[in-house]
């Protein structure tokens, strides 16, 4: 049928291409404007590094958003898990793995609280994660005594300052986590069920999917990635700060949305999130180098998010 080609085009819709095009255009423009600074390999590696924390967080956020929910508490979880990890890393002689596991455990625990609230108590994700966002931030302040936990073991700092074949290890963590996320979303039964729940929860239930358990798992996963992000921020700044991660959930949501994943759930490709995270990092990096104040950066980011959401709605309307 003649429609075959048309439909193929609809699948690779211009929005996904649009993101790639926008990204590469921006990179090229910045390279031209600032050949001595932006285009340096050292800087490009920095971008990858700077995109990593947000990128890792975005992976967890991606699962939640595809399932039809949202997690506003990720930033606060970064703080709490970072503080807990730092408290472990303060203890001389304690193997660094303890700090790592502690951060992951904290992240997963917060995620599980969110998950129970959404799945079993039936609370709207926006509301419960808003509450956790506030409460966990307070907990971080209490646990840390109000100020940053510093004086951490070198082994803890070394978690994020190594290089493998010239690539910063932060970027390697990011790449690994992204690839695993992509694999799970596209190739596993679990991933397919996440899409199903986001696409139509009632239908998913009727086909025998345990929606409650799935949601609990998804939010726990997001909390886990926040725990990882918190660990890495604490290692990178060599302190566990109770005020860290403020607003990071917004950047993660932005990366996911810019990358083409619909806020209403059920659709979107995992690699879009990579582009989204990289795009945000390129903007910050480029504008910092050019000396543009971060307030302008916020405006630019806001415009890009608005455009991405607009294209998402347009793409939906087109289908009807």
């Amino acid at each position: 049928m003649k429609n075959k080609n048309e439909n193929k085009k609809k699948i690779l819709n211009y929005r996904e291409f649009g993101i790639f095009i926008a990204f590469f255009t921006l990179v090229i423009v910045l390279m031209i404007i600032s050949p001595n600074a932006f285009a340096k390999p050292r800087n490009l590696i920095n971008i990858l590094k700077q995109a990593s924390v947000n990128g890792i967080l975005s992976c967890g956020m991606m699962f939640v958003i595809i399932s039809g929910g949202i997690d506003l508490s990720a930033g606060s979880t970064i703080a709490l898990s970072g503080v807990v990890a730092a408290l472990c890393a303060q203890i001389q002689g304690l193997p660094v793995i303890v700090a790592v596991l502690a951060a992951l455990a904290v992240g997963a625990a917060v995620g599980a609280v969110n998950g129970f609230g959404v799945a079993y108590a039936g609370l709207p994700p926006f509301i419960i994660t808003l509450a956790t966002m506030t409460g966990i931030r307070g907990l971080a302040l209490i646990v840390s005594g109000g100020s940053p936990v510093y004086g951490l073991a070198k082994s803890f700092e070394n978690l994020t300052n190594q290089f493998i074949l010239g690539i910063p290890i932060l970027a390697i963590y990011f790449i690994v986590i992204v690839l695993i996320s992509g694999f799970v979303l596209t190739k596993t039964v679990f991933g397919r069920r996440v899409y199903a729940i986001g696409g139509n929860e009632a239908t998913a239930r009727v086909t025998g999917i345990n929606v409650k358990r799935m949601k609990l798992t998804v939010y726990t996963l997001c909390g886990l990635t926040a725990g990882v992000a918190g660990l890495l921020v604490a290692s990178r700044t060599v302190q566990g700060s109770p005020t860290a991660g403020d607003g990071y959930e917004m950047d993660a949501i932005a990366a996911v949305v810019i990358g083409g994943i619909s806020m209403s759930g059920g659709s979107g490709k995992w690699y879009g999130t990579i582009i989204g995270a990289l795009l945000l990092a390129v903007i910050s990096n480029g504008l910092d180098i050019l000396g543009v104040s971060s307030n302008y950066q916020k405006i630019i980011k806001g415009v890009i998010i608005a455009v991405a959401v607009y294209l998402d709605l347009r793409g939906k309307a087109r289908q009807e």
């Binding site: 609230g117 108590a121 506030t134 307070g138 940053p148 990178r236 005020t243």
Partner: protein
Amino acid sequence: MMKKALAMLVVMTMGFSALTACGSNKAADNSTTDTTESKAANDNAEKEEDVKESDSASGSDETIALFMTHMSNEFTITLSGAVEAEVEARGYKYSVYDAGQDVATQVDQIEQAITLGVKGIIIEPVSVDGVVPAVRAAKEEGVAVVIVNQKISDPSAADCYVGADAATTGEILMKKAAEDIGGKGNVAFLLGPMGSDGQVGRSEGFENVLKDYPDINVVFQDTAEWQTEPALTITENWLNSGKEIDAIVSQNDGMAVGAAKAVADAKLDDRVKVYGIDATSEGLQAVLDGKLAATVSQGTEDQGKLSADACADLLEGIEVKAETIVDNVTYTKDNAQEALDAIKK
């Protein structure tokens, strides 16, 4: 039914945690925060916040009450600790209130204390305007009022002010940095949230000093919102910009520490000097470790002691100065250890 109970439990747990979180959301590491932000939702919850009564060993039964904006960082903890020590040394009872960064809460707390018969109060104002009516009301009741750390919009309404001066603090730091780099070169500024009192005052101080140093160029300045990781990222990018930087002057220690990490990662520690404000324990440690060249304190302990003294003096009929500006102290490797030990005690 079960679901509803579970939902209530979760919400209550969250709500309870939210109570303890109030006012801690955007807490700067050690600097006065943007006072116009208040969380209306936390209003009612905060009304019963901490009221500590201390037992006084000797002296009068009079109480001096301290009203803090919040009690969730090293600065506020140090300040209130110093007030408490001096109040008791002067022989008075001490009580402290935490407003959770909410101006309405602070006003309620002040009114409540006056009703309870408190005769001397020390206020660290949440809002420069919002607390003025409460101050006036207190004066009408004959209560002695001392304002600490930040001036209110009508200073004459209170009896006196004790604090550091943001511009002066900025000037002292900028001068130190300018001299360290030999009066010429490129500097970069890390600022607090744009428009906040801390940021505006300290930037003013920087500019004042720079007038005398025509050979110093400001190549970058941007806000890192008092936070360490954003400061790290911004500094990383500045260091890669191709522009030479000789000094990074940060408006608080939290950001300075982040900048120092970026400098260390880029292996530029010999070339780039980093400066901070607040003399937190972390900042002092960084100075001792050679990561920061210097940090300037806002005389937190002195603010506490002197405001308590002023209040006690007023209650005893002794005249006090309308305005007492405490000295800033610059800490370098030479004198940082003492200060650090003092805090750790």
